[in-house]
């Protein structure tokens, strides 16, 4: 029995690996496939630092550069777009009937979702790396090895959350036309935080929303290495937040898969 379970697990992992290779192939075979996920966050990063860079002159804004303050947000934004793109790609596969063929295979449903979601997680390293290089060139502080690893880890997990959201919508609407909804919700979730300024300097409704938005914890944790030192107290709330989102949105995605399959 144990042997059979081991074989099944190996087969599942091989299927996930194949799904991830397929996603990587798209990057190689479709020139520019990674550009949308890279371009938008890069333009926003450069644009926002040019526009709002003076904010660091405000009392209570204790950072050496706005670039250092903003770069973790842009990296998470890139993860959000990459995750949403995974949903769009799944919707495309559904539209052209390819996903039906996946469903007809003996692979468990969760394995198909895991393949899509983990592909997004790995792909999110592309915009994150490009953004980091751009940010360092224009004056962001190097976060140190620990800060860098933590930021990349959180970015990859954020992409999993975004991909779960994208997959849920793709399975619900079965059309690429749902793309704006996939992207807009992730964008709002990431920007309705301390993205632009520290909590004390936020005004109006955003002050309250940022305080209760769990993604604020993720932004703050990813920012640690860029603007200060890394602490466990500043890190664990982000892990809890991402775990919560993964369980909830992953559950929705699995439910959508079960409904699609039967």
């Amino acid at each position: 029995m144990g042997g059979a379970g081991s074989v099944a697990l190996t087969a599942d992992l091989q299927t996930i690996g194949a799904m991830m290779r397929r996603s990587a192939n798209e990057l190689i075979r479709v020139p520019g496939a990674a550009i949308p996920g890279v371009l938008a966050p890069t333009i926003f990063f450069l644009g926002l630092t040019a526009a709002f860079g003076s904010l660091i002159e405000l009392r209570g804004f204790d950072v050496s550069s706005y670039q250092s303050f903003l770069i973790p947000v842009s990296m998470l934004q890139g993860a959000g777009f990459t995750g949403a793109a995974a949903g769009v790609n799944l919707a495309r596969d559904i539209e052209i009937g390819l996903f039906d063929r996946f469903l007809a295979s003996p692979a468990p449903r969760w394995v198909l979702i895991a393949g899509v979601v983990l592909s997004a997680s790995v792909r999110s390293l592309i915009p994150a790396s490009v953004l980091l290089v751009v940010a360092l060139i224009v004056g962001a502080d190097f976060p140190g090895l620990g800060g860098l690893l933590l930021a990349f880890f959180l970015v990859m997990w954020m992409a999993i959350v975004a991909a779960c959201w994208g997959v849920t919508l793709a399975l619900r609407f079965k059309t690429q036309a749902a793309a704006p909804l996939m992207q807009a919700v992730m964008l709002a979730l990431i920007l309705c935080t301390t993205a632009y300024a520290p909590q004390e300097l936020l005004t109006g409704w955003l002050y309250t929303v940022a305080e209760i938005n769990p993604i604020t914890q993720v932004v703050e944790a990813a920012r640690q290495g860029f603007t200060g030192t890394i602490t466990w107290a500043g890190t664990w709330p982000a892990l809890v937040a991402l775990l919560g989102f993964t369980v909830v949105l992953g559950g929705f995605a699995l439910r959508g898969m079960r409904r699609t399959a039967y």
Binding site: L39, A40, I43, F44, L46, G47, L48, T49, A50, A51, F52, G53, S54, L55, E57, L58, A177, A179, P180, A184, L187, A188, L191, C192, A195, Y196, A197, L201, L202, T203, G204, W205, L206, Y207, V209, A210
Partner: protein, 257 residues
Amino acid sequence: MNTVRVVVALGRRSVLQTFRRPQLLAPLIVFPTLLLAIQTGGAGAAVNLPGFPPVDSFLSFMLAGAMIQSTLLAGNAAGIALAVDIEMGFTDRLLAAPIPRWSIVVGRLAGAAALGTFSAVWFLAIGLIFGVEIAEGIPGVLLMIAVTTLSALAFGTLGAAIALRSGSASVVQGMFPLVFVILFLSSAFFPQELLQEPAKTIAQFNPASFIVDAVRDPVISAFSSEDLWKGLAGIALVGFVGSVLSAGALKRRLRTG
């Protein structure tokens, strides 16, 4: 008279098309509204910076930026819709009809202008609901709507030029990020004096800065004819360049098929 009817009919069609397709309308309204709300809350404390113009709130300052962002996106959406018409062969049928060729483009631009008016009214309503006071009152409101409408028309010519040149909706859609490059390199989101270099220098010459300032002026200060003329000159420049490029692209399309 017949040509006017054609333009009105095509303009009406383009407006209805936009309202019937959420994927066309959403970027014009939802995205700028979302960004307006987030930036107002996120960078609202900026009004305390030395050098920031005296305003009631950051929303008062940002309103014009959101309007022009929406009109830039309206121009892009007009280009996408025109490119879809080309891809589907609808434009070919219009070209075969006994109507002036330019009326096909002008009809689409009329639709973009109508969307510009809609977005101006939308953002004014949002501003008024959330406490913005228009310093110049009703005449100021009318002026803002007029300048926003004209700017949508002008930006629409650029969208049309790209659509006619490429004939591909995805190419026009790919221009979407360019909208934000133009906005970030202007005074749309922050006072020009407080921008970081090189944005500060570029914003000085960016026509979008003049257009935004012309829309913003009636909200935050007394009417200035200089700002208005600069804004109208910016719109004229964009419109002229877009019209020349559109005419050239249309001529090329007719020649090459």
